[in-house]
Each structure stands twice: as structure tokens, then as C-alpha cells.
């Protein structure tokens, strides 16, 4: 979704931040369960992380802006669960109504005598799921190059945020090849591409009048997002 509701960099009028000095890890019991759905639905093959993000991006915009982040996760788990036939939407609604009417009703008995699911959680948290890939493809750019982000919008999922499109900056870091979200997030495979960190001045991004002085923004781009700067 090229300029979806999630594409928030620079958006005006979305309210105050109101940071908290400290807060509990979970704001409600259901958040623990919602969080655990992410690694376990990933394990079950519902989605990769890019597809998971695209699922959130397809939420109703008003709901997206006004609900806590774990609801976005729940939305994406359902989106992919239904899409792949793991869940039936009507069945899910029936069960939701049941637990609304019977909030203390227990969950079904677990089927994991060998403890494989706990072992998966304990294994994936310290190891992770690296996105780096090495196909041996040569990098077209290197650190110090001046590059411009293409201004084209994209179909479906992309990480090419609207506020950096058409902007020119300098490559600060080169990271090698990683899974390409524009294919992976749209069910078209990993197609790894080289990733670079590009640094822009705030003036380049927001203009001399709006941009704060003495500032810069870095943004990670995949190789197809950029072209050599013309000036």
C-alpha cells in the first residue's frame, strides 16, 4: 500500500505523544496471547514478517490510528489465518461471541505433550530469524555515493515511505543482501536485494522553511528504490 495509513513519517494532526517514564510490558492479559500468536503463527506458516506487516497495513485507517499496536497484530493474524484457510471467519465470530458471553470459560486443553511449542519459543527468541541472504549478486552502489530515491509509488507492500520518495542523500552504510519486502510482502518470494542506509539532510526532506536546522534523517533502502543522483 503505497501511501497507506501506516506511512506516518511527517503526518500532521495525529496528536500528542504523551510518553510514559515506565510502563508494564503487557497492558492487559490478552496482549501476552496476542504477542505469542506472532511467533507461533509464523511457525505454522501463516506469514513471513513482511506479509505480517502488509496484513496490518490493510486495516481500516480509522481503526489503525486509534487502536493499540497489538490489535494490529491480531488483525494481521486473522487476515492471514482466514486467507490460508486456517480459520473460518464465521467460526471466529461465533467463538468471539461465546467468550464475550462467558469471559471465564477456559481455553481447550493443549495438544503439545512433547513441549515442542515452548521449545520453539525458547529457541527463536535468542536466535531470531535473520533476513540477510547471500546470493553473490554484486552491489551497484557503495558508501559515499549520492543517490536519489525513485518517486514512483508502489503496488501492495513496500518500505519506500512517501516522505523519502524523490529525495537525494548519501549512502552511509552498506549491509549486503536482505529479503526484499516488495516481493516477500506481496507473496512473490524473497528476491534478496542489497540494502543501504541513506542519510538525508532535514532541509532536503522537509524544505528550508519547515526543516529544523542541523538535522539529518537516515532511511534504509533496497537497491531497486534508488538511482544515482543526477547532481
Amino acid at each position: 500500500m503505497s501511501s497507506g495509513v501506516h506511512d506516518l513519517g511527517g503526518r500532521e494532526g495525529v496528536g500528542a505523544i504523551n510518553p510514559t517514564p515506565a510502563e508494564p510490558v503487557w497492558k492487559a492479559e490478552w496482549e501476552k496471547h496476542a504477542h505469542t500468536l506472532f511467533p507461533l503463527a509464523f511457525r505454522a506458516g501463516f506469514f513471513g514478517v513482511d506479509q505480517f506487516r502488509f496484513g496490518m497495513e490493510q486495516m481500516d485507517p480509522d481503526e489503525y490510528l486509534n487502536t493499540p499496536y497489538y490489535e494490529h497484530w491480531v488483525h494481521s493474524v486473522v487476515h492471514h489465518g482466514v486467507r490460508h484457510g486456517h480459520f473460518d471467519a464465521d467460526e471466529l465470530d461465533r467463538r468471539t461471541q461465546y467468550y464475550l458471553d462467558n469471559p471465564d470459560a477456559p481455553l481447550p486443553e493443549g495438544k503439545d505433550a512433547e513441549g515442542e511449542l515452548v521449545a520453539f519459543i525458547e529457541g527463536i527468541i535468542p536466535v531470531g530469524a535473520p533476513a540477510g541472504r547471500d546470493t553473490g549478486k554484486a552491489a551497484k552502489f557503495s558508501v559515499g555515493d549520492r543517490v536519489t530515491v525513485i518517486s514512483d509509488a508502489a503496488e501492495g507492500h513496500t518500505r519506500r515511505a512517501s516522505y523519502i520518495r524523490g529525495k537525494t542523500g548519501v549512502i552511509d552504510l552498506a549491509h549486503g543482501e536482505m529479503i526484499y519486502p516488495d516481493t516477500a510482502g506481496n507473496d512473490r518470494g524473497e528476491s534478496p536485494e542489497h540494502v543501504y542506509t541513506v542519510r538525508f539532510t532535514t532541509e532536503e526532506i522537509w524544505g528550508a522553511e519547515e526543516g529544523e536546522p542541523n538535522g539529518s534523517i537516515t532511511f534504509d533502502v533496497w537497491e531497486p528504490y534508488i538511482v544515482p543522483a543526477s547532481k
Binding site: H6, L8, G10, R11, V14, A16, I17, N18, P19, T20, E23, V25, W26, K27, K32, H33, T36, L37, L40, A41, V49, P68, Y69, E71, V74, V77, V78, F87, L92, R95, T96, Q97, Y98, Y99, P103, L107, P108, E109, G110, D112, I121, E122, I125, P126, V127, G128, A129, R159, L173, M178, I179, V195, E212, N214, G215, S216, T218, F219, D220, W222
Partner: protein, 202 residues
């Protein structure tokens, strides 16, 4: 219906919906409450900003470790047994007298879990994601009470790929005689996001 009643209703509804999803997952053998409990325990007690504080304090006291950290944060953290999900490829960015760094994810909620734990709500909500790239100096001053001098460049790292950035803050003045443990106690979550300074030496 009053706003608090409406919010309570909504909480009840989302809680029921999560339970409904979980009940199906459990019946299919894809989830258990034991797995939920284990994950909750890990992020409550084992993985959190105390791990980042350990890395920062070591970097403040061990120059060779610091250079390894700035070269490759993931392998340096792994020396201390710190690694994993949402930090497979980490980059630590060092504050100096000339540059102050701050992290954000404008497109979702990317955050370096292995060193900072799970992000606070404000980090994931639209206001921070929208404003931090646009007016960081103003946001830091007005929302976080953190005044960065005009002479210091503010560099905002928008975590748009799977790289996970976090800030190595400056060691507070007057801590020359501090032990590593005393230094760890000065390192705050906010100082590693870049929205605050470490605590001052008491």
C-alpha cells in the same frame, strides 16, 4: 455510553477475540497456554533494557569492546549472550559532542528487542512515528523535556529495514570512579532510544 464504558467494552471484545483465535490454534496443535506463559516470562524477566544497559556500561569501560560494538553490534552483544529476534542485525550509533542520535520506525514499530525488550506503547503509536522525523528537536524538548543544544546535530534513524538501530549514549560526567555495575544503573531505556540522557552521577 460514556468514553470509559466504551473503552471497557472494546477491551472485553478484543480479549474475547484473542481467546477465540487461541482456542482454534490450540485445537489445531499450533499453540498452548504454556507457550504464552513462557514468552511472557521471557519479556517480563529476562529480556529488557537491563541488557542494553549492560552493553553500554561495558562499552564505556572497555574501549576495545566499544570499537567492536560500533563495528558490528550483533556480534559484540553476542559476546555477552545477548542476541535474537528483532535484533538479528543491530547497529549501535554513538552520541558525541557533535551528533545526537534517536531511533524511530515510521512505517511500523521496529525496535531492538534483544537489548531494549518490547517497546513502550508511545513508541508504536502514530504521534511519535509521525513527529520524530519531522521535528525531532521540538519533540525532544516539548514532549520528553530533553533539550539538545542547537550546536549538536540531531540524526534520526528511521528503522525501515530489518537493521535495528539503538543509541550508545555519552558517559555522564563525574563517573570516572564508578564500577561497571554503578554505570549500568545510570543507563535508561530512553537514553538508548535517544529520547533522554542517562541518569546523572548522584
Amino acid at each position: 455510553m460514556s468514553a470509559p464504558e466504551k473503552a471497557t467494552d472494546h477491551q472485553a471484545e478484543i480479549a474475547a477475540r484473542v481467546k477465540a483465535i487461541e482456542s482454534i490454534m490450540i485445537e489445531k496443535g499450533l499453540m498452548t497456554t504454556e507457550a504464552v506463559d513462557r514468552l511472557a516470562e521471557i519479556y517480563e524477566n529476562e529480556v529488557g533494557p537491563q541488557l542494553g544497559a549492560k552493553v553500554v556500561a561495558k562499552a564505556w569501560t572497555d574501549p576495545e569492546f566499544k570499537s567492536r560494538l560500533l563495528e558490528n553490534a550483533s556480534t559484540a552483544c553476542a559476546e555477552l549472550g545477548i542476541s535474537g529476534l528483532q535484533g538479528e542485525d543491530m547497529v549501535a550509533v554513538e552520541d558525541t559532542d557533535d551528533v545526537h542520535h534517536v531511533i524511530v520506525c515510521t512505517l511500523c514499530s521496529c525496535y531492538p528487542w534483544p537489548v531494549l525488550g518490547l517497546p513502550p506503547n508511545w513508541y508504536k503509536m502514530p504521534p511519535y512515528r509521525a513527529a520524530m522525523v519531522k521535528a525531532p528537536r521540538k519533540v525532544l524538548r516539548e514532549e520528553f523535556g530533553y533539550d539538545v543544544p542547537e550546536s549538536v546535530e540531531i540524526r534520526v534513524w528511521d528503522s525501515s529495514s530489518e537493521l535495528r538501530y539503538w543509541v550508545l549514549p555519552q558517559r555522564p560526567a563525574g563517573t570516572e570512579d564508578f564500577t561497571v555495575e554503578q554505570l549500568e544503573a545510570l543507563v535508561t531505556r530512553d537514553s538508548m532510544i535517544g529520547v533522554g540522557a542517562p541518569k546523572a552521577a548522584a
